[in-house]
Symmetry: C2
């Protein structure tokens, strides 16, 4: 055991015993033995980096004369490469060029980079369309903003493998391959920041993980897709069809030419998988979260919502299964109370609401998309890495154990619209879907609120009903508190 | 300059140059020279601690074989002493005893400790009513939960002076003496966590400071006092007098026997000063923030709010003065739009809304008080310290420059109730307070919304008017967006 000679120290200074037997074995890295078998270059690289940090700390220690030294005080600025110079990339560049202590933009990558060049980027920044340039030794952090899985995932792996930290807004890659990336980051002494991948500028990853670190979260809910929220808000406030609002949203640039990822829930699905990992500490395979589209909603549904004192939102929810493994999760349109946090977001705003066993309910509300808000999340991650404050980023995902299975949400009352009136209700009852309240309907439709049942039960009955075109379920939205 | 011999390293490993001339001088500790002249024991203590950390890192490095090592993996659990075993103290103890990796409760201090003993605290925890026990070498972090300035401030100073980190829920001490405590923490290599001092369980300090670190905040608004919010909510929903609601709140334990600190704004004042320092990066002397009491509001004011589509909240606001130093700040009752974030908190909930130049508006909502939510904030701070993730905690306050002066809020429309009807309006107009909209009033009162003016202008006119008891301003609430 290493031990200080107490005689060396002036009175009142108690040298503490930090020998190897003090290291709590429960906290040892579970991947340690695998890493020890890793290649020599990797270990050497880590040692080099580690030695450099210690040397620098010693130098800075004597320069500052104090015991507390932040990395931002020690280090030359982190050299940042932006990969993908779209809306968010440009916003990040603008912030970095405006001057952020500890950060320096050195490279910008984009395909056909010449058409992306702008005159406000100083000459010291080099433009490239060769991705290999980004992995050169003069880059410390790669900001990945190309989106999509391919080739973004591969590029992030390459960066981390070379010991470069990665900051990303890529929800798809984080949701599907987060575990692998975190393991790669740990093995290579790199950091991985992904605040921007969920809810844009709202600091929900950091808020959940650090600010609520002392709590145990049991549920995460959110309105996570701005495009859906815009469309649903518009439909609620004006008597226009889904198709008209969608076309308008596309014309304004709020919706993609192919809006499926937004409308059918796959965007929110990936974000919810990330929130489940970070908040509930349970990883799930994102594609196993059931998604229901907001397509097919009509004016009558919004009228019914108003009648019920509710609003329609695309709601994402994930709950820990009590007393066992697994996560109850779903993404899709739901009716929320007008005074609920989920209702109180307009247009492209996002909200994330978490329930903790001790802290109760906490909500984070703000701009869920857009270049500048998302860039704030990216730069905040960069600052955390620059200040050495990013260890929790690397530990954001639970990296032990296998994925949790996703199970169906529990029984909830549903708003239900069906063709076939009384006949529809009679048949639904046969499938165990029982009406609790009839609402006014036009033509031969059935509008009602059901007794609590699962959305799946309604969908099953719907499958049977579709033999008869005249009798079928057209919309089924859970009533969420 | 120190330089690696490149030949020592395998291909692909680039030793970086971290010599002393790489240390960016702009980031040097401004207190360095003062500290160098500090006493020898202090420097020796810092060196001891620093050496121990390095030694431990080296040991753990070879144990884990990876470059990324968190302090929680390295260290024996942080030994925590709770000072003040009230509601929050008990909640913190319960969480720690339930088991939090990296944290161990070792001591509980309280005056007359015997009447505080509970059987669910294990025998390994020692109870004491001697404060000196808390500063003994077997305590790493002191959790200060006694509240008030005296003796809490002195105890926090003693802990930090001995190199012990402090986690506190004490808004008064943080607001008044935060700067001194941070300097003491830095000089002694200790950390100072204060998430619990503002908005209870809502992770607003961490959210603003780290999650929005990449933004520049220009305004912070909040509903920060649960007692006021409870009273105002009750008065809005039932036709009972202020006195009745207050007595009820006191009976239920929502309000103190001496409610002045809550009602007259001094509680929120301290919290707002902390938010100004952390969010706007401008420290202010808390007592210079003008406070206006919620006492004196009557049913007619709530009726008028309803007529105007608004709610009455105790609002705290601080804004950077544009293009100059200074902070516009105020605490007091205001009328807020029903659909605003400030209106959407019920009972003892708190909300903090921040405006950033890039990220737009972000809101944090949750439980602003209570043992368990506040304990979550305390434990989150403890975890940050345990994981070595707390450097930003120490840098939370701007520790350079002097306090910013607090200046009056800009002109806003006000809701105004005055005795003396037309005569009151005529006289107010003489003082530049001009009515824009008359509201229905009973008796000989005047209820109106003014053109934009400062609250101070109304108060000045009020001072002149009070010569005449029959003609005086009884309530003046700014209309906040």
């Amino acid at each position: 055991m290493l031990r200080h000679d107490a005689g060396l120290y002036p009175p009142g200074v108690e040298p503490r015993d930090w020998g190897p037997d003090d290291v709590d074995e429960r906290h040892q890295d579970p991947h340690a033995s695998a890493d020890l078998q890793g290649d020599v270059a990797k270990i050497f690289r880590a040692i080099t980096k580690f030695e450099a940090i210690i040397r620098k700390r010693v130098v800075a220690f004597f320069l500052s004369g104090a015991g507390v030294i932040t990395n931002s005080e020690l280090m030359t600025p982190l050299r940042v490469a932006i990969v993908g110079f779209g809306t968010v990339g440009r916003s990040v560049a603008r912030i970095l060029i405006h001057g952020v202590s500890g950060l320096r933009l050195t490279r910008v990558f984009n395909r056909n980079v010449n058409r992306k060049r702008v005159d406000w980027v100083p000459a010291s920044v080099s433009w490239t369309e060769t991705i290999d340039d980004v992995f050169s030794p003069d880059v410390d952090v790669v900001v990945e903003l190309v989106g999509g899985t391919d080739p973004a995932f591969e590029w992030m792996r390459r960066a981390l493998s070379k010991g470069k930290s990665v900051v990303t807004a890529n929800k798809q890659v984080m949701a599907r391959h987060g575990l692998e990336l975190f393991e790669l980051a740990r093995a290579n002494g790199a950091q991985l920041g992904f605040e921007a991948s969920v809810a844009g500028g709202i600091p929900v990853i950091r808020g959940i993980q650090e600010g609520l670190g002392g709590d145990e979260l049991i549920r995460v809910q959110g309105v996570l897709n701005g495009t859906c929220n815009y469309i649903l808000s518009e439909m609620a406030s004006s008597v226009v069809s889904f198709e008209t609002v969608l076309a308008d949203a596309q014309a304004r640039g709020y919706a993609e030419a192919d809006p499926a990822v937004d409308l059918d829930g796959f965007d929110a699905q990936a974000k919810l998988a990330i929130l489940s990992a970070v908040g509930l500490r349970r990883r799930v395979e994102p594609t196993t979260i059931p998604c229901r589209s907001i397509r097919g909603l009509v004016t009558a549904d919004f009228d019914a919502a108003r009648e019920l004192g509710r609003a329609i939102r695309q709601v994402s929810v994930a709950e820990r299964v009590k007393n066992g493994s697994g996560v109850r999760a779903a993404v899709g349109p739901a009716m929320v109370r007008l005074d609920s946090r989920l209702a109180q977001v307009a247009g492209s705003e996002n909200v994330v609401v978490v329930d903790g066993v001790r802290g109760g309910q906490t909500a984070f509300v703000g701009q869920g998309a857009g270049g500048d808000p998302t860039a704030v999340a990216v730069v905040s991650d960069l600052l955390a890495i620059a200040s050495g404050n990013s260890r929790m980023i690397t530990h954001a995902f639970p990296v032990v154990g296998s994925d949790h299975r996703v199970v169906e949400m529990g029984a909830q009352p549903h708003y239900l619209r069906a063709a076939g009136g009384d006949e529809a209700e009679r048949r639904l009852t046969e499938f165990g879907v029982v009406g609790a309240q009839r609402l006014d309907a036009v033509d031969n439709e059935l509008l009602m609120v059901t007794d609590p049942c699962t959305t799946e039960a309604i969908e099953k009955s719907m499958n049977k009903l579709t033999n008869d075109e005249a009798v079928r379920v057209l919309a089924a939205l859970p009533l969420v508190d």
